[in-house]
């Protein structure tokens, strides 16, 4: 009965088409990073790793990747630390203005990064910080704290209140309780939050475009290559970046997704 239902068939057909649309750019990117074609298209002109060689000998994009690999982990770490403390306080305490604070935290996600970029530039140029990687770090933390906070809050909401109370009753100070009871419990959430924050920072373009100046992050460097000419080295860096994303993705699947869509249903 079920299998012959035309709606189920249509649904699966749509899903297949949707996957094809979603994965087409990734497949093209990876395929043409290993092809001799100067301009991606058919017929294929044979396999090569030349674009990777060009990428490594040229160095501009790799420098930018290096910049990003400094900024993004640092920003993700600071954002996660801030988010953990705030999530704990928001989870445990009641106080006036809590709703307003929650609204303030969400606002950086609702305001388009384009607008934030202009604002950051205005302020940072005034204090002579614009045009540095440090500026990118400072501003990215603002952007990625909210998602990190949301993930850690989801985890802390699952913590039974009696856990902390037991620790207090046994004589632990509040700080000890946070370090030895709450932190271990929140660890999967913290790890997931870090990965999400890292990904957002890694991929962020427009703010970095405004404030990074002569130390571009990877997306900014890719953009400047792109507006100049078509360069298949971009396929090579794209494939490398995609490999990094896959590693992050596997981490996310293992840690983050159970929070988003509930517990896995039975053992598949």
């Amino acid at each position: 009965m079920m299998a012959r239902n035309p709606w189920i068939f249509l649904g699966r057909l749509w899903l297949g088409l949707a996957y094809a649309f979603m994965f087409l750019p990734l497949v093209v990117l990876i395929l043409f990073s290993f092809q001799k074609n100067r301009f991606p298209g058919f017929p294929l002109q044979g396999w090569t790793t030349g674009w990777y060689g060009k990428l490594f000998s040229d160095g501009t994009l790799l420098d930018a990747l290096g910049h990003t690999m400094i900024v993004s982990p640092a920003a993700a770490t600071v954002a996660t630390v801030i988010a953990f403390f705030a999530a704990y306080a928001l989870n445990r305490f009641h106080f006036r203005g809590k709703t307003a604070l929650l609204g303030l935290v969400t606002l950086p996600i609702l305001i388009p990064p384009l607008i934030l970029g202009v604002g950051f530039l205005g302020l940072l140029a005034r204090v002579h910080l614009s045009g540095t990687l440090f500026a990118v770090f400072l501003t990215h933390v603002v952007l990625i704290t909210a998602p990190a906070l949301a993930i850690i809050q989801l985890r802390l909401a699952q913590m039974p209140g009696s856990l902390e109370e037991a620790a207090w009753d046994l004589g632990a100070t509040e700080w000890q309780t946070v370090c030895k009871v709450v932190l271990p419990f929140a660890l999967p959430g913290i790890f997931g939050a870090w990965l999400l924050a890292f990904t957002f920072s890694f991929d962020e373009f427009i703010i970095a475009w405004f404030v990074s100046g002569f130390q571009p992050t990877l997306p900014v460097a890719i953009y400047s290559v792109l507006v100049a000419a078509i360069d298949p080295s971009l396929n090579a860096i794209g494939t490398i970046v995609f490999a990094i994303s896959c590693a992050v993705l596997i981490g996310i699947e293992l840690i983050l997704l159970p929070f988003l869509v509930g517990k896995p249903r039975g053992d598949a």
Partner: protein
């Protein structure tokens, strides 16, 4: 001694602790100094003036006068705003429809044990770089790109597509970016629908189509509006797809015009006139707040109707 201090601690309410202050302080300080302050600064710089390529603090309306004088002529900021709204709203409609069908297919056409994997696959492209995905779309859609060269190879040159550097290409890039996020929003919304309601409708003789239009669709309305508002906001604020796929000033039914976000970017990179760029950004904030208010009112009505 430790016992008494333990008792002291128990007598205190858990809500009363110095941690409340110290744990929230970093967040409040960081957001205050590096979020609220830049935003206020942005609003203020819009009133500054530029002399000898230097921005000078002032309270002049010159930037706004200049922008509104150039609203429909010269730089045509107003027409760019119209183009942006048109592209953002149509993109949102297509992106939400596309993603809703994916979310429905995931929830109802995929066996429960495979759903997590299927969802993960659907959102996988989100974790790859946006700029690189746009570059890839550029090579796919361009005149002698992947699609057109494939069509030529198999002898179907007549079907060749010519959408690169139009706002259609801008929309494709945006939909590709938005779909994974919208799928998650809409899928979570569909999961929240009480399955008993659907079963009841079916047992009372409703066809699958009726169960969808009378139960599932009305109960999804809140999720659909949330997803739609989000898509409009992202579409209005995005300059990348418009620049790389739309070619800066891509063609649409309104003519060859850049989107407003593209215009802010190119306006700044060509003039580095930060006060005018700030004024342009302030106008975008106002338009967005208006769009959000409309979205919220609609979503709120939808929630009340279904509650």
């Amino acid at each position: 001694m430790t016992a008494t201090s333990g008792i002291d601690k128990r007598l205190k309410t858990p809500n009363d602790s110095p941690l409340k202050f110290w744990f929230l302080a970093p967040l409040v300080l960081w957001l205050g100094a590096l979020f609220l302050l830049p935003l206020l600064f942005l609003l203020w710089i819009g009133f500054w003036r530029v002399e000898n390529f230097q921005a000078i603090p002032d309270f002049s309306l010159n930037n706004y006068q200049e922008i509104f004088a150039n609203f429909f002529s010269g730089s045509r900021y107003g027409l760019a705003l119209v183009q942006s709204l048109w592209v953002a709203i149509t993109t949102a409609v297509f992106a939400v429809a596309f993603s809703y069908l994916i979310a429905l297919a995931l929830a109802f056409a995929v066996p429960a044990r495979w759903q997590r994997l299927a969802l993960l696959l659907a959102i996988a492209p989100f974790w790859s770089s946006y700029v690189l995905r746009l570059y890839s779309w550029q090579t796919i859609l361009s005149r002698n790109g992947v699609i057109n060269s494939t069509l030529k190879q198999i002898g179907l040159s007549d079907l060749r597509i010519d959408v690169i550097y139009t706002q259609i290409a801008t929309r494709i890039g945006l939909i590709h970016y938005l779909a994974p996020i919208l799928v998650v929003i809409l899928y979570v919304g569909i999961l929240a629908i009480d399955k008993v309601l659907i079963e009841a409708a079916r047992e009372l003789g409703a066809t699958r189509w009726q169960a969808f239009t009378r139960v599932i669709l009305p109960l999804s309305r809140f999720g659909l509006l949330t997803a739609g508002s989000f898509a409009v906001i992202v579409g209005l604020g995005d300059a990348l797809s418009g620049n790389l796929l739309g070619g800066g000033a891509g063609r649409s039914i309104f003519g060859k015009l850049p989107t407003y976000a593209s215009m802010i970017m190119s306006d700044y990179s060509s003039s580095t006139n930060l006060p005018r760029t700030s004024a342009l950004a302030t106008i975008l904030i106002v338009v967005m707040i208006a769009a959000l208010v409309v979205g919220f009112i609609a979503a709120d009505r939808a929630r009340r109707r279904t509650a």
